[in-house]
Structure formats: C-alpha cells, structure tokens
C-alpha cells in the first residue's frame, strides 16, 4: 500500500472519474445489466440540467466522464450533451451496445475530439454473447465496430464483462480487438441490477479466476480492467492499478434522475449520497454527504483481519459483498482464498436494487370466459 493509495482512501476534493448514466432506457435487456435498465424514468435530467452537471464537473476539474445507461445514444440530446461536455474540457468515454452507430454516425463520432467509445460485447461468438445480451446483439456490435473502423475513429474500446461462459474466450476477444485496432477492456461481473438474479450462475469459478489472473499478468497494461479485479491480487503478484475500492473516494455514479451513488454497482438506498438537483449540487454531495464521509473513514477488515492477504486484496468489492448478502467487513464472495464461498453458505437476505427499470415481460392477454 503506497502513501498515495492511503491518501485516496481519505477521498479527494473531486472525483477522478465519474460514471454518468444518461438514461434508463435501453433497446436491450441484458441479463446482467447493473442498472436494471429498459424503460426511461420520467424524472430523468433534462438537457439543461445535464448541462449544469457538466458545468459543475468542469469547475471541479473532473477531466472525464464515463457516460452510459441504459443505452445513452437513445437520448435525442445525446450528441448535444456530449458536445457540451467535450467543449467544456470534460472528456467523454461512452458505453454503447452499438445499435445507433451506422456509417454516418461513425463518421460524426470520428470527427469529434476528447471522445472515446466503448462497445459492449460479452461473447466472442454470437451464441455466447446473445445468451447474455439478447438475440442479434453480437451482429449489432460487430457492425458498429466495423463502421468505427471504416470511419477511421482510431482506437476505441471493446468492453467485456467476464462470465463463466466467456472466460475461455479471452484470447479470442483480444484477437477481435486487434482486428479492429481497438483496445480490449475486461471487467468484473457484479451481482448488481438484474445480475442480482443471474450472478450465481454467471460468475467465474475459482479455477477460472486463477486462469484470469495469469492471463491478466501476461497482458499487463495492454488490456484495461478499470482496476476491477484487485480481489485477484491475493493470488500472488499484483495486477497494475490502484488496488483499492474507489467508491465515494475517487469515483461515483450519477444516475439518470440525478441521484448520486458511491459507485455504478451499488444502486441502492444504502449507498445513495444525494441528488445533483439538491442545494449545492453535485459538489456538495461529493464533499459533504454523510454516505461518502463514512466511506472515507477508516474501514474495518472484520472477518478478514487475520488473513495474510488483506493488504493485497483489501477485502475485495463492496458491491459484490452487499448484493450477495455478505457483511461489508468480510470476504468478497469471490475471495480467491475460498473464504467467500464459505461465507455465502451463511449469507443474510440478499438486498434488492433500489429501482427496476426493466421492460415488462410481454404476456398474452386472453378473454376471461366465465365472468
């Protein structure tokens, strides 16, 4: 643990990086969606309100935001907001499923500055991907990537959430990224949003986690991870990155209705710090909210206190623990020492995420015959 990391645990005056979900609306219904997206929320920020958020981020010198959703490109003012941000010196990286990137849009995107794109792909073939992201979504993503390549966008990102079913495809994902001149980014599956119900069958096994650790060590900084696998550091050699949970300390989430949460994976009242519409705006929430102040205080290692790997893994991911019913001061459910599995056997009730914006399941209505 370096002095710098220690400092970050106390929190910074402004976040290093913010995830900003622009809408809960989405044309897909991925089974692991961390924000349970599908339908727009009527309380979503207006264009003007979004501009005010950008103004605050500019004033706080937040250098870039990760825009997501839902599918952010569904918003009609998507380009307006992105252009307002980049021209204010707030760089944008946005995540998309690629549906709305046709040849013309790709050219428009390629002409913009301070803009980075992340295409979501959860399988290196259609069968693996579509099982998670829905029928046809693999072809959609590949088409979008081809458009970006043809438009000369440059090095965009391919973003993969690692699951039990795609972890054997790491080399194939890398090959796809190389083919498009893109950079591969792989992140950890959290039991958040709709994944609260699918995590158990999708999260990698312990053996697979060991393979992943080795693979990541072999690829170094060429493969991005958003520092999301620091729980694997307990396996030995540390992965590149800050090795700390940044929730409320160096990162946070602004959701589509302006609610500010500690991180993108904890959309739950327990981690709700305030709203950008409150007096004092986002800055006040970041600097003075009780929720974030508490996260920046000393954290107990709890049941992990006597484990020799604590310095390496820091007890893992807060969101992963919370949404599997584990205490926050104990092992991560995917603890590579095996303590998570043991803890899960006696875990408490699993909290439900605060909002569910999933699209309603279509049911066939029939006439009642005997009324």
């Amino acid at each position: 643990m370096t002095a710098l990391t220690e400092r970050m645990k106390d929190g910074l005056d402004a976040p290093i990086c913010i995830t900003w979900e622009l809408t809960y609306s989405c044309n897909l219904s991925c089974v692991h969606c961390l924000s349970s997206s599908g339908r727009r929320d009527p309380k979503e920020l207006t264009t003007e309100e979004a501009f005010r958020v950008v103004d605050e981020l500019r004033d706080m010198q937040v250098f870039y935001v990760n825009i997501g959703g839902g599918e952010p490109m569904i918003r009609r003012d998507f380009f307006e907001i992105v252009e307002y941000a980049t021209s204010s010196g707030v760089g944008v990286k946005f995540s998309t499923n690629g549906t709305y990137i046709d040849a013309a849009t790709a050219q428009r995107l390629a002409a913009m500055e301070y803009l980075d794109i992340q295409i979501s792909l959860d399988g290196a073939d259609a069968a693996t991907n579509d099982a998670i992201r829905g029928e046809g979504s693999y072809d959609t993503a590949m088409t979008a990537m081809r458009h970006l390549k043809d438009a000369g966008f440059g090095e965009f990102k391919i973003s993969v959430v690692i699951t039990r079913h795609n972890i054997a495809q790491l080399d194939e994902f890398k090959a796809i990224a190389d083919e498009f001149g893109a950079q591969l980014r792989i992140t950890r599956l959290r039991p958040s949003g709709r994944a609260v119900d699918t995590w158990e069958e999708l999260h990698p096994t312990l053996d697979q986690q060991r393979t992943l650790h080795q693979w990541l060590l072999g690829h170094g900084e060429n493969v991005l991870t958003g520092d999301s696998f620091f729980h694997l550091n307990a396996l030995g050699e540390s992965l590149p990155g800050l090795n700390l949970c940044g929730a409320g300390r160096v990162v946070c989430l602004i959701d589509p209705i302006g609610d500010v949460y500690a991180c993108p994976f904890v959309i739950h009242d327990e981690f709700l710090a305030g709203n950008v519409r409150d007096d004092g705006g986002f800055a006040a929430v970041w600097r003075t909210s009780d929720c974030f102040t508490e996260l920046r205080g000393p954290q107990s290692a709890g049941a992990c206190a006597s484990c020799g790997s604590w310095d390496a893994c820091q007890g893992g991911c807060m969101a992963a623990k919370f949404f599997t019913g584990l205490p926050l001061d104990g092992p991560d459910p995917e603890c590579v020492g095996g303590d998570g599995e043991y803890a899960l056997a006696s875990a408490g009730a699993i909290p439900r995420p605060s909002g569910d914006h999933s699209k309603p399941v279509a049911v066939q209505l029939g006439r009642r015959s005997n009324v």
């Binding site: 002095a3 710098l4 910074l12 402004a14 250098f63 760089g91 990286k93 301070y114 980075d116």
Partner: protein, 85 residues
C-alpha cells in the same frame, strides 16, 4: 535533462491535490499522479526558465536533490506530460 529547455505539454491539465496533483493528458486520455507538491510547482514553472537547472535553482531546491528531480522529470517526459521546447 538538466540543461534542456522544457515545458508542460499544452494538452495537459493539472488539478491540485493534497498529495501533489493529478495530471490529465487530453490527447492520450491518461491520468498521471504527481506525488509531491514541489514537483508540481517546478513542472508548472518550467517554461519560465531557460532550462530545468535554472528552474530548480529558482525554486530554491537543494543541489543534492537535483538528481531526484531530474529522474522525476524524465519519467514525466516519458509519459508526455513534460516536453522539450
């Protein structure tokens, strides 16, 4: 590097932090941590002096430490935060 005329890359923004500063490079979208307040002052001031040596001297930095500053600046040149002018 002590005799080189240097400057902060025009696409790099610095945000003051308790530990020093956070540098963001708008061209390659990289974040770099400057882990000491004095190095931040030196980097900001590079363009005002003929070379690194005179910048260090103007900031009253002990000559015995110049080697360390030289190394720190070299690593910032590698990450394109500091460039020749």
């Amino acid at each position: 590097m002590l005799d080189s005329p240097l400057k902060l890359h025009p696409s790099v923004a610095l945000r003051p932090e308790p530990f020093g500063a956070l540098a963001y490079h708008y061209d390659n979208r990289r974040l770099i941590f400057l882990k000491h307040p004095t190095i931040v002052d030196v980097v900001k001031d590079l363009a005002q002096h003929p070379d690194l040596r005179s910048t260090l001297s103007a900031h009253g930095i002990d000559e015995q430490q110049w080697d360390n500053y030289d190394k720190a600046i070299c690593s910032l040149i590698e990450s394109d935060v500091v460039v020749a002018r």
